[in-house]
C-alpha cells in the first residue's frame, strides 16, 4: 500500500518549504448547478497554494466508482436536503474504501445536531457553504499534522497460552489475579469469575481448567445470555427425542458433555430463577435429568461461573438465588478493567498485532506514536475484547510494516481530531458546549449511555433526556 500522503522534497527558502507540504488528493462531490460550479472553482483557485490535487464527481454513486479506482486522502461532500441521512450514507460509503480517506462535509447551514453526529462518526469537519478558504486550510492542516507519525517497534510480550487465548499483562492488578489463579487452579473448587465485559473471564476459566485436576477432560463453555430462554434448559441438560416440538433427536446436554472436565457457565446472572433452581440441584447433587427424561444421570464436572453483573445486587432484587450464589462463589476472582491495567494496554496491543498479522499474512513490526496515543486515550468500555476487535480491524486495513492511526476506526480517530467549534468564528452558548461535551463523551464510550452518564456524573435518565433535547 502506498502512503496516503506523498511528500515531495526540493529546496525553498523561508518557512516550511512548499514542496515539503504533503500533496493531498481530494475528491469533491458537489452535485450539479451553479453552487457546485462555484465551489469547485474556489477549490481549484486554492489548490495550488494548498498543495491539493483535485477531481470531482457529480454524486455519491459516481463518487463510489472513483473511490474504487484510485487512492484519495479526502472527500469533500456537499450534503443535500437531508443532511443527516446524506452524512450517514457518506460515512457508510467510506467505510472500507482503500486508503481510508477522511470526510469533510459541507452544508449551507449545518445544524448543531449534524455537527455533533459528524463528530461522533469521526468526520474530519463540517463546514458552512459558501466555503471559506481559512476553514478549509485549517481542516487540511489537521490531516497533514496527523500524518506526521513516528514508528515505535512493538515490545516483546510474554504470553501464557491458554487454549486459543493467552494471558497477557504484567500490571500489579493482573499479578494479583495470577497469584489467586495459581492458588485455586489445583483444587476442584467451584470458582466465580467476576469482571466487566471483555476483561477475559473465559480466558481465566480456561486457565483454571488447564492447570486443574480435570485438565484431561473437556472444557465446555455455555453462554447463558446468548441462548434463548426456552432453549437453555435443553442446551444444559439435554433432551430426549420428542420431549418437545423441535426435539428431533436425543440431545446430550453440556453438563454431560463436560463430564470429567470443566463446565463454564458464562453470564450466569442472565438465567431465569427456575433454571437457577435446576443448576443448584445439579451442583448440590451432582446429577441431572434430561428434558423429557426420567432417569437421573450422575455428572462429575468442575463448575466455573462468570458474570459481569453485581450478583449481590441481583440477590437483593430477587433476580438471583442466594443459595446458588454461595455454591458458585466458593472462590471469587475479580478481573480488573483495562483502564486499571496501565501499560498492559501496550503489551496487549503488541500481542494482538502479532497474532493478527500472522493470521492475515501481514508484516507489521511497529506501531506509530499517534496510533498508540489514540489507543491510550480511548475509554475501552469493552475492555480487552474491544481492543482485540480494534486491532484485528486495524491489521486487516493496514498493509505496511507500521500500524498507523489511519488504520484505526474513525470513532477513535475522531476523538483526537475534533471538529472546529461552531458557530464559525463566534462564541458558543452554554447549551452548545454542553451538547458538544455530551457528544464527545458518548463518542468516547462508543455510544454507551450508562458509561457516559457515569463519566458525566449525571443519572442515565438525565443523559437520555439531554440527548433527546440536543438531537444526539
Amino acid at each position: 500500500m502506498t502512503p496516503p500522503l506523498r511528500v515531495e522534497s526540493s529546496p525553498r527558502s523561508a518557512g516550511p518549504r512548499r514542496e515539503e507540504v504533503a500533496l493531498l488528493r481530494i475528491l469533491v462531490v458537489a452535485g450539479e448547478g451553479t453552487r457546485a460550479a462555484g465551489l469547485l472553482q474556489n477549490l481549484r483557485q486554492w489548490a495550488d497554494d494548498g498543495r491539493l490535487e483535485l477531481d470531482s464527481a457529480p454524486d455519491l454513486p459516481r463518487a463510489v466508482r472513483q473511490l474504487a479506482g484510485a487512492r484519495w486522502d479526502l472527500v469533500v461532500a456537499v450534503l443535500g436536503e437531508h443532511p443527516d441521512d446524506d452524512l450517514a450514507w457518506w460515512v457508510d460509503t467510506l467505510r472500507g474504501v482503500p486508503g481510508s480517506p477522511r470526510l469533510l462535509a459541507a452544508a449551507p447551514t449545518p445544524s448543531m445536531g449534524l455537527v455533533l453526529r459528524a463528530e461522533k462518526a469521526g468526520v474530519l469537519d463540517v463546514l458552512s457553504l459558501p466555503l471559506r478558504r481559512d476553514d478549509l486550510m485549517a481542516a487540511l492542516e489537521r490531516i497533514r499534522s496527523a500524518a506526521a507519525e513516528t514508528a515505535l517497534p512493538l515490545p516483546p510480550v510474554e504470553a501464557q497460552a491458554v487454549g486459543p487465548y493467552a494471558l497477557v499483562g504484567q500490571s500489579p492488578a493482573m499479578l494479583d489475579v495470577y497469584k489467586l489463579l495459581a492458588r485455586v487452579a489445583g483444587s476442584a473448587a467451584t470458582v466465580l469469575v467476576q469482571g466487566e465485559s471483555g476483561t477475559g473471564k473465559e480466558v481465566v476459566a480456561r486457565a483454571l481448567h488447564v492447570n486443574g485436576p480435570k485438565a484431561t477432560g473437556a472444557f465446555v463453555a455455555v453462554n447463558c445470555a446468548a441462548i434463548p430462554e426456552n432453549l437453555l434448559e435443553s442446551e444444559l441438560f439435554g433432551h430426549e427425542k420428542g420431549a418437545f416440538t423441535g426435539a428431533v433427536t436425543r440431545k446430550i446436554g453440556r453438563f454431560e458433555q463436560a463430564a470429567g472436565g470443566t463446565l463454564f457457565l458464562d453470564e450466569i446472572a442472565d438465567m431465569s430463577l427456575a433454571l437457577q433452581a435446576k443448576i443448584l440441584r445439579a451442583v448440590q447433587e451432582r446429577e441431572i435429568e434430561r428434558v423429557g427424561g426420567a432417569e437421573a444421570i450422575p455428572v462429575d464436572v468442575r463448575m466455573i461461573a462468570a458474570t459481569n453483573r453485581d450478583l449481590k445486587e441481583a440477590i437483593q432484587q430477587g433476580r438471583f438465588r442466594e443459595d446458588l450464589y454461595y455454591r458458585l462463589a466458593v472462590v471469587t476472582i475479580r478481573l480488573p478493567r483495562l483502564g486499571e491495567r496501565g501499560d498492559d494496554l501496550v503489551l496487549l496491543t503488541a500481542y494482538f498485532v502479532r497474532q493478527f498479522a500472522e493470521r492475515y499474512g501481514k508484516q507489521i513490526h511497529a506501531i506509530s506514536d499517534r496510533a498508540l496515543d489514540l489507543l491510550r486515550g480511548h475509554a475501552w468500555v469493552g475492555n480487552v475484547r474491544e481492543l482485540r476487535n480494534v486491532i484485528e480491524r486495524a491489521v486487516i486495513v493496514g498493509g505496511e510494516d507500521v500500524l498507523r492511526a489511519e488504520h484505526l476506526p474513525e470513532e477513535l480517530r475522531g476523538e483526537a481530531v475534533t471538529l472546529a467549534d461552531r458557530p464559525q468564528g463566534g462564541l458558543l452558548t452554554l447549551a452548545e458546549i454542553e451538547a458538544r461535551h455530551i457528544a464527545r463523551v458518548l463518542a468516547h464510550t462508543n455510544g454507551q449511555i450508562g458509561a457516559a452518564a457515569e463519566i458525566l456524573g449525571i443519572h442515565r435518565n438525565t443523559l437520555t433526556r439531554k440527548m433527546k433535547e440536543y438531537g444526539l
Binding site: 454513486p61 463510489v64 466508482r65 428431533v248 433427536t249 486487516i396
Partner: protein, 430 residues
C-alpha cells in the same frame, strides 16, 4: 424511563396473541427495540438477536400515537378509494370503479398486506370482467398476478398473467401484453423453469423495444441477465446487465440502476471477481440512497455484500455488514429479510466452527413461523441449519433439519429447493 430494565423482545412478543389487529403493535415493539448496551461488549454480544433486544413499555406507550396515526391514515386512504369507487358506480363509470379498487389494493401492497390487496383486486376483476373495454380487466389480472407471486403462489400468478396476455393481445394492448410477458417470465423464474422464463422475457423485450418502452426493456434485460447467470451463461448475463445499466443510468433511474448493479455484483461474485463485485454492491447502495427509500432493495444489496465477504473469508466485514442489515430490517420491520440476516449470521458462525451460532437459526425459524406465506423461507432456514450442524459434525441433527426442509419443499412443490436438499442428504450419507 422508569429506571427499570427494558423487557426483552422475546418476552414482549410472548405476551401478544397472534391477532392480525395487533400486527402494527408487533411491528412497533420490534422497531422500538434496542440492544442492551451492557451486552454489546459482553461475551453474548456477538450472539445478539432480536429476541435479546430490549424494549421500554414507556417508549411503546409514547410512540403508540404515531402508530395509530399511521393505521388511521391507511384506513382513511382505503375508505377514500372505496368512496371513489362508490361515486364511480353511482355515475355508471365501471372503469372508474376498477381504477379505485386497484388503487386500494396497491395501498395494501404498499404496507406489505398482499392477501388483503388480492381481495381488492378480486372485487375489481369482477367489475372489470363485465366491461366491453377489456383493458381494465387486463390491469386487474396483472395486479392479481403480481400479488400471487408476492404470496409465493407462482402457479396462480402464471395463470393470471396468461389470461392477461391473451386479453391484451386480443385488444392490441401492447403495453398490457409486454407487462404480462414480464409477469409470466417472473412466474417461470420463480418456479425454476429457465427455458420458459427466457422465452417470456425475450418476447416481452421485443414488444417493449418495438413500443419504445425503455424502462420496461431495461427491466426485462436485467431479468434476462439474472436468468443467464442462473443458467451459467455468464457472458450473456454481463451483456444484458450492461445494456440495462446503460438504459437506466442515462434515464437517471436511481432505483433501477441500483437493482442492475445488485445483479452485476452477483455476476461478478459468480465469476470469482470479488473486488468488482464489492464495488458493484457499494455503487448499488449509493444509487439506492438517491432513489425513493426502499429498505427491501437496500437490504438485498447488504445481504449480498455480506455473503460476498463471507465467501471471501472476510468474516469481520461480513458480520459488520449483517449487523447494519439487521438494524435496517428491524427499523423497517422487514421480518423476511431479518430471517435472511440471521440465517447468514448462523452460516458465518458455522464457518467459525462456533456451536453457539445455532441461536441465529433458532431465531430465524421463530421469525419465519410468525410470518405470513413463510413456508419456503422456513425451509431455506432448515436447509442452512442442517448444513451448519453437518459442518460441526452433528450428523443426526443435520439429517433431521434437512429432512424437515425437504418435507416443506415437498408440500410447496418446490422442485429446486427439494433437489438441493436431496443432494445435501446424499452427501451426508456418503
Amino acid at each position: 424511563m422508569t429506571g427499570l430494565p427494558p423487557v426483552r423482545v422475546e418476552k414482549a412478543l410472548g405476551l401478544m396473541p397472534e391477532l392480525e389487529a395487533l400486527d402494527p403493535l408487533r411491528a412497533l415493539v420490534v422497531s422500538l427495540s434496542r440492544p442492551d448496551e451492557r451486552a454489546l461488549w459482553s461475551s453474548s454480544g456477538p450472539y445478539l438477536t432480536l429476541g435479546k433486544r430490549g424494549v421500554h413499555p414507556d417508549e411503546v406507550r409514547r410512540r403508540m400515537q404515531q402508530a395509530f396515526h399511521r393505521i388511521v391514515g391507511h384506513l382513511q386512504a382505503l375508505y377514500r378509494e372505496y368512496v371513489d369507487a362508490l361515486e364511480a358506480q353511482q355515475r355508471g363509470d365501471a372503469a372508474g370503479v376498477v381504477s379505485a379498487l386497484l388503487r386500494a389494493g396497491r395501498l395494501e401492497e404498499g404496507v406489505g398486506r398482499f392477501t388483503q390487496a388480492q381481495a381488492w383486486y378480486d372485487v375489481a376483476l369482477q367489475v372489470g370482467q363485465a366491461l366491453q373495454d377489456r383493458r381494465p380487466e387486463v390491469e386487474c389480472l396483472r395486479a392479481l398476478g403480481h400479488a400471487s407471486l408476492a404470496l409465493g403462489k407462482n402457479a396462480d400468478g402464471a395463470r393470471h398473467f396468461q389470461r392477461a396476455l391473451a386479453l391484451a393481445e386480443a385488444e392490441f394492448d401492447q403495453a398490457g401484453a409486454t407487462a404480462a410477458c414480464e409477469g409470466l417470465g417472473d412466474a417461470a423464474l420463480a418456479q425454476g423453469q429457465w427455458a420458459g422464463a427466457q422465452a417470456w422475457y425475450s418476447r416481452g423485450l421485443r414488444l417493449a423495444e418495438a413500443a419504445g418502452d425503455g424502462s420496461r426493456a431495461g427491466r426485462l434485460e436485467r431479468q434476462l441477465g439474472v436468468l443467464a447467470r442462473k443458467q451459467g451463461d455468464l457472458a450473456a448475463a454481463g451483456d444484458f446487465l450492461r445494456r440495462a445499466r446503460e438504459r437506466f443510468e442515462s434515464a437517471g433511474s436511481a432505483d433501477e440502476t441500483a437493482r442492475v448493479l445488485n445483479e452485476q455484483g452477483q455476476l461478478d461474485a459468480q465469476l470469482g471477481r470479488h473486488g468488482p463485485a464489492a464495488a458493484a454492491y457499494r455503487e448499488a447502495l449509493a444509487w439506492s440512497q438517491r432513489a425513493t427509500r426502499d429498505p427491501g432493495l437496500e437490504l438485498s444489496v447488504r445481504l449480498n455484500l455480506a455473503q460476498l465477504d463471507l465467501e471471501a473469508g472476510r468474516l469481520l466485514e461480513a458480520e459488520a455488514e449483517l449487523r447494519r442489515a439487521e438494524q435496517v430490517a428491524i427499523a423497517d420491520n422487514a421480518m423476511r429479510r431479518l430471517v435472511q440476516v440471521y440465517t447468514l449470521m448462523g452460516r458465518l458462525r458455522g464457518v467459525q466452527a462456533d456451536e453457539t451460532g445455532f441461536v441465529f437459526f433458532e431465531q430465524a425459524i421463530e421469525l419465519a413461523k410468525a410470518l405470513d406465506r413463510s413456508l419456503a423461507t422456513e425451509a431455506q432456514v432448515y436447509l442452512a441449519y442442517g448444513l451448519f450442524r453437518s459442518r460441526l459434525g452433528q450428523q443426526d441433527e443435520a439429517r433431521a433439519y434437512l429432512e424437515r426442509a425437504r418435507e416443506i419443499f415437498d408440500s410447496l412443490g418446490e422442485a429446486v429447493g427439494r433437489e438441493r436438499v436431496e443432494a445435501e442428504l446424499r452427501a451426508l450419507s456418503a
